[in-house]
């Protein structure tokens, strides 16, 4: 999987209430959730985000609630992947389970500015900041998680194992 997109840059400890406020959780329709994605952090995000754009954030992205609506809203908004210094635990699991590509890289976070063009190769973990001419390698995705992605997510891996 390779992505190219413009950076939306955010700070530390972006909680799931900021990714998708609870007042919109009376539905799980991805397109409805996408309309309100990042609303309390960046009201312009949902109307301006372009297909393929990339969120780059500081530490502990996705902290707080277990709502899978958070990665669902981000993906449905058109974001191709999220790069952060670190991810909160439940958000990390949810993203792999439902298929939102995420990577951890300090250097990419240190150097990316809003609007920079990034190229990301999920398989190799290579990140290229085209605007600034910088190249990095993300922390490797654990083999177990790679298997999960290859299987097509948690539900597909259960189906393939004959869990049903």
């Amino acid at each position: 999987m390779k992505f190219t997109g413009n950076v939306w840059k955010y700070g530390a400890d972006i909680d799931t209430d900021r990714i998708i406020p609870a007042r919109y959780l009376n539905t799980s329709d991805p397109l409805e959730l996408a309309k309100h994605c990042m609303e309390d952090e960046d009201p312009a995000f949902a109307s301006r985000v372009q297909q393929g754009d990339i969120i780059v954030a500081e530490k502990n992205f996705g902290c707080g609630s277990s709502r899978e609506h958070a990665p669902i809203a981000i993906k449905a908004a058109g974001i191709s992947c999220v790069i952060a210094r670190s991810f909160a635990r439940i958000f990390y699991r949810n993203s792999f389970n439902m298929g939102l590509p995420i990577l951890e890289s300090d250097e990419a976070v240190d150097t990316a500015s809003r609007g920079d063009v990034l190229e990301v190769d999920m398989d190799s973990g290579k990140i290229h900041n085209v605007t600034k001419g910088l190249r990095f390698k993300a922390r490797p995705v654990p083999p177990f998680m790679q298997e999960l992605i290859k299987a097509g997510g948690l539900m597909e891996s259960i189906r393939k194992r004959g869990g049903i």
Binding site: N60, N97, G163, I164
Partner: protein, 421 residues
């Protein structure tokens, strides 16, 4: 054999292994799987999407619509209907609605559905609450819940543990809430990321089950996977009359390995307040001066239990809530509601000018039953004070224990209970 922590022992047992080591990836059997009206609809939809027909065990999949109930609008009612239809179709033993429903993390321990030694997952981040009974319990997302509903198993990475030792006696008006807020203030909202938090020491050994639940409940606010307290006589007294299944007490080996050990002397800990907009922004209540408030919420899966209402009643007895301050009291379960009524707390709350809400998560997550306007400020016994958590993005939430919340309602500003009693 490698010495193990209580967390490692419970995980090993459920994975059918003699020993586990932090970092191991294991597949473990799940005793209880929980979903609510926000998270379960996605799990049910995933369950159906891949063609599953039957839950792995109808006694072990628990659905509790507690977030937007009593249904706040048509969309919420539709979500709850998805749960109800599924519960009826699958003949789930534990489905609660109407006058039977309570805030999930107060309801499950009270009904004896979760017991010591269990491995519990819930599609709700505060599922870590049950560590107070000596269970391993952790929050997951909807897809993980769907996987467990089908297979009864889930993968886990065995976490490292951090040990927190609390010595000495708690000062007056200090509860489990203050101990956990103090920890989060020290280590930050990702200070225990991916780890298990184990709470021990003399002060924990004499802590009530309610206070223990408040502590483990907020382990997630430090980024932890779980929080746990080794079960003891206090645990036994609570569970033996409730447990619907046999239970087992686990304990950490003396030479078990921790990634870190932190020690506290309770003589140094006064009631804590977490200022906006992160639970790590904690201060001693005496340091938070002249913060005017518009609303006080006493309730939630953190502090909506009988002990919490009792201390609020003690402070509010014969007092009036400050003019134009809205005090909302939310007993967490029907049993707590009924017991609080019998003990006369409702008379005290009503005379003080409070609103008494039916059990619901409601305002804690800005759902309903007490939303804040721009510029408004609340003191809440809940667990999160993120931007916009209880309403408008320009509103503020200060987190505190029920004694501080009640005292603040009377004063109309954040106050130490000693200023009122």
């Amino acid at each position: 054999m490698r010495p193990m922590t209580i967390t490692e022992k419970i995980l090993a047992k459920h994975a059918g292994l003699k020993v586990v080591t932090p970092g191991d990836l294991i597949n473990a059997k799940v005793d209880i799987a929980l979903g609510n009206d926000i998270t379960a609809p996605i799990a049910i939809s995933e369950f159906r999407r891949i063609g599953a027909k039957k839950v792995f065990n109808r006694n072990k999949v628990i659905l509790v619509p507690d977030h937007f109930t009593p249904n706040k609008d048509i969309k919420s009612a539709t979500q709850v209907k998805i749960l109800r239809d599924f519960a009826l179709e699958q003949k789930l033993t534990h489905y609660y609605e109407g006058g039977d429903v309570g805030v999930e993390h107060a309801l499950l321990p009270e009904k004896g559905i979760v017991v010591p030694g269990d491995l519990v997952i819930g599609a709700d981040s505060h599922t870590c609450t049950y560590g107070a009974l000596g269970a391993f319990s952790t929050g997951v997302g909807s897809t993980d819940l769907a996987a467990v509903m089908i297979t009864g198993e889930l993968w886990f990475k065995v976490p490292e543990s951090i040990k927190f030792v609390f010595r000495g006696k708690l000062r007056k008006w200090v509860s489990g809430k203050d101990l956990i807020l103090r920890i989060i203030g020290d280590i930050g909202v990702d200070g225990a990321l991916y780890k298990a938090m184990e709470f021990t020491g003399g002060a924990i050994e004499s802590l009530s089950i309610e206070s223990r639940m408040a502590m483990c409940n907020m382990a997630i606010e430090a980024g932890a996977k779980s929080g746990i307290i080794p079960p003891d006589a206090i645990t036994k007294a609570y569970v033996e009359k409730r447990a619907e299944r046999p239970y087992k007490f686990y304990s950490s080996d003396k030479d078990a390995v921790y990634s870190e050990v932190r020690e506290y002397d309770c003589a140094d800990i006064e009631p804590q307040v977490a200022c906006p907009h992160l639970p790590e922004n904690t201060k001693n209540v005496s340091e938070v001066k002249n913060v005017r408030i518009d609303q006080v919420v006493i309730g939630s899966c953190t502090n909506g239990r009988l002990e919490d209402l009792a201390v609020a009643a003690k402070i509010l007895k014969g007092k009036k809530v400050a003019r134009l301050v809205r005090l909302i009291v939310i007993p967490a379960t029907p049993f707590i509601y009924s017991e609080a009524m019998k003990r006369g707390y409702f008379d005290i709350f009503l005379k003080a000018g409070a609103v008494i809400s039916p059990p619901t998560c409601g305002p804690c997550l800005g759902g309903h039953m007490g939303i804040l306007a721009a510029g408004e400020r609340a003191v809440a016994t809940t667990n999160r004070n993120f931007v916009g958590r209880m309403g408008d993005v320009k509103s503020e939430v200060y987190l505190a224990n029920p004694a501080v919340a009640a005292a603040s309602a009377v004063k109309g500003k954040i106050a130490h209970p000693d200023e009122v009693v």
